[in-house]
């Protein structure tokens, strides 16, 4: 561990506990990189992208008349240009904020709704609990990709419908985690005792349920964010994403599909690689957290 100011900062961030956690560290670096690029290249009103001059290097929305049309990657255009004489690299950079916003907000929303409903369901019990569990199981067992597509089709394309549809799909996951924990904790004697002592039941339960579910939710939510990025990209690919000409990886891939037979591979390849890398980053974080939390593996390492 480093000394001095750097060491203090690192320790405060808990980096020391990450020693040997290659997967987690790699994932965190990837995610941090994408978040930084996404923030720097985010829209700043009036169809302009990016807060620093020259980053993204070119306008991701308006084409340049002096740019070649559909040219392969070169030293001046690392990822080539598209049919509207736009720089693909600039579009890939500017396209990062949308999937991040959609994935983060939809999982946060699913987590809040799922936990609250799961907590109420587990606490109340009886027929409301049975009804809710059955409904959640029905949603859970249905193919989530199809559900998300159908919901977005009903609500119409755009950022908010995408978030609503994707979060809906993940609500049962968090419902299950919280409900199971409520049912487990409810049986403990100290809950009975606290209630007998006059503390309100719901409050006591909440205090003991919340900390126990946090760990499980951390790992599950990173995997879900990784998955939500793919779902958001698929929705955009099918035409239910942000309206063009907004830079969007999924939509750009759909656009590249039209030129696929002509062999213009770069239109599809680079936005796709961006999706894969970002999703992989969150997947690695989830994997790393599971490694940290799984006592079985830890015991093995000590032995």
């Amino acid at each position: 561990m480093k000394r001095g100011l750097t060491g203090t900062v690192l320790r405060a961030l808990g980096v020391g506990t990450l020693r040997g956690q290659t997967l987690l560290k790699t994932g965190l670096v990837i995610v941090a990189l994408f978040v930084i690029v996404a923030v720097l290249c985010a829209p700043r009103g009036g169809d302009r992208y990016g807060w620093i001059a020259g980053f993204p290097p070119y306008d991701p929305i308006r084409g340049y008349s002096n740019f070649p049309r559909l040219s392969a990657p070169s030293s001046s255009h690392w990822m080539g240009t598209d049919h509207l004489q736009r720089d693909v690299f600039s579009r890939v950079l500017a396209g990062g904020w949308a999937p991040l916003v959609v994935a983060f907000s939809s999982i946060a929303l699913a987590m809040s709704v799922g936990s609250v409903v799961g907590w109420i369901s587990g606490y109340v019990g009886g027929w409301p609990d049975r009804g809710l569990s059955l409904t959640m199981d029905a949603i859970y067992s249905f193919p989530s990709m199809i559900l998300a597509i159908a919901l977005v089709a009903v609500m119409g394309a755009g950022l908010v419908p995408m978030i609503a549809a994707i979060s809906f799909v993940y609500v049962p996951t968090y419902f299950r985690i919280t409900r199971a924990e409520v049912l487990r904790v409810r049986e403990y004697a100290f809950v009975e005792a606290a209630r007998a002592a006059g503390a309100s039941g719901p409050r006591v339960l909440l205090r003991h349920v919340a900390p126990n579910t946090v760990n499980a939710m951390m790992a599950v939510s990173s995997f879900n964010i990784a998955d939500a990025i793919l779902t958001a990209a698929a929705l955009a690919f099918l035409g239910y994403g942000l309206p063009p000409p907004t830079p969007d990886w999924g939509f750009d891939i759909q656009n590249g599909q039209r030129y696929l037979q002509s062999g213009y591979w770069w239109l599809i390849t680079f936005p796709g690689l961006a999706i894969v890398t970002l999703s992989l980053g969150f997947g690695l974080v989830g994997e790393g957290i599971s490694d940290l939390l799984n006592p079985k593996r830890r015991r093995k390492k000590l032995a």
Partner: protein
């Protein structure tokens, strides 16, 4: 077997409310959806209001919502899913004719996933925490960070457009479309039955890219579960016993460890079937595969309400049935489980 029958009946009863919930949500949601199926059916513009009203009356769309709903459920009980406004054919007929295509795709996707997922998972477990394990784990995590539609498109660019090894899309080359007699609707099986080797080759060539694209993500998932399950059983006392009896390592791994590790692997197969159907939506769209999932997307674009309701209910029932079959498979793999 009395217990088993009762269990099956119970499970079937449980799918009834599930399908009912799905159908009600689909029915309501579609009627809230922007867009008019009658207008879409008539081609959009230049339709006189009188004709529109007449068509709406014919289709029963002028009745109150709850009456429409009861009518729809009544038809459903008789096995009538209504007519597709896009193709004009009964929805049930459309689904049945497309089911073999989807099943064939899903089946070979799963075969690919199992063929590569289970062995790599086993190797990772046997070499736990060594370089081979790390490499395989990264491969597995990486495989489900892949967007299915993108993998499909990349396959098309590389293997169809650039290399020209395999066809870009479809199920069968156009030149065979008229001579090919469908028997079961499963083209691979049909070609075998007819002993037509030329068509068999063509069917396989069309099937490779979509099946691998669909199975790739499942491979990673299956591999991870296999690794975890194998690690679990390799620590078990019966494995130590088997080894100390002097059994060959191959026997210990295959018939003592793997057999027990198969239980969670089969569970995953059941769970993953739903994911596979979701992936099939994208694979069928990218590869113009004439299946149920692609039908859903086309119906969505055309505001084909009856087709959409029917397809959603159909997929829901189908996934529930697969889950039931998987549950029943347990008792064969694990004799301790009795229903």
């Amino acid at each position: 077997m009395g217990g088993l029958t009762r269990y099956i009946v119970q499970r079937l009863m449980l799918t009834v409310p599930m399908v009912f919930i799905l159908l009600s949500v689909a029915f309501l949601a579609l009627r809230l959806m922007p867009g008019d199926p009658v207008l879409a059916m008539m081609g959009g513009r230049n339709v006189s209001p009188e004709l529109l009203a007449q068509k709406r009356h014919e289709m029963g769309l002028d009745k109150p919502l709850h009456v429409q709903y009861v009518d729809y459920l009544r038809g459903l009980v008789r096995g009538d899913l209504g007519r597709s406004t896009r193709t004009g054919k009964p929805v049930g007929e459309e689904l049945i004719s497309r089911l073999p295509a989807t099943l064939e795709l899903a089946l070979w996707g799963m075969v690919f996933a199992a063929l590569f997922g289970i062995p790599t998972g086993m190797i990772a477990a046997l070499r736990a925490d060594r370089p081979a394990d790390h490499a395989i784990r990264i491969l597995h995590i990486g495989s489900f960070a892949l967007p299915i539609f993108w993998v499909g498109l990349m396959f098309q660019v590389i293997f169809a457009v650039k290399l020209g090894w395999l066809p870009v899309a479809g199920r069968l080359a156009g030149r065979y479309a008229f001579s090919f007699q469908q028997v079961t609707g499963f083209y691979l099986l049909d070609a075998l039955i007819l002993k037509d080797w030329e068509i068999l080759g063509d069917v396989v060539r069309h099937l490779v890219l979509p099946a691998v694209a669909l199975g790739l993500a499942q491979m990673g998932f299956l591999g991870r579960v296999t690794r975890a399950a194998m690690l679990e059983v390799l620590d078990a006392e019966y494995v130590t016993t088997a080894r100390s009896k002097g059994l060959r390592e191959r026997v210990v791994i295959l018939s003592h460890a793997l057999r027990n590790a198969l239980i969670p692997i089969i569970t995953v197969f059941g769970l993953e079937f739903a994911v596979l159907m979701g992936g099939a939506v994208l694979t069928e769209t990218v590869f113009s595969w004439p299946g149920v999932a692609g039908f859903l997307i086309q119906s969505l674009y055309y505001r084909d309400w009856w087709a959409l309701q029917g397809t959603i209910a159909f997929i829901g029932v189908f996934v529930a049935m697969v889950n039931l079959v998987v549950d029943l498979l347990y008792s064969f793999v694990d004799p301790r489980i009795r229903y």
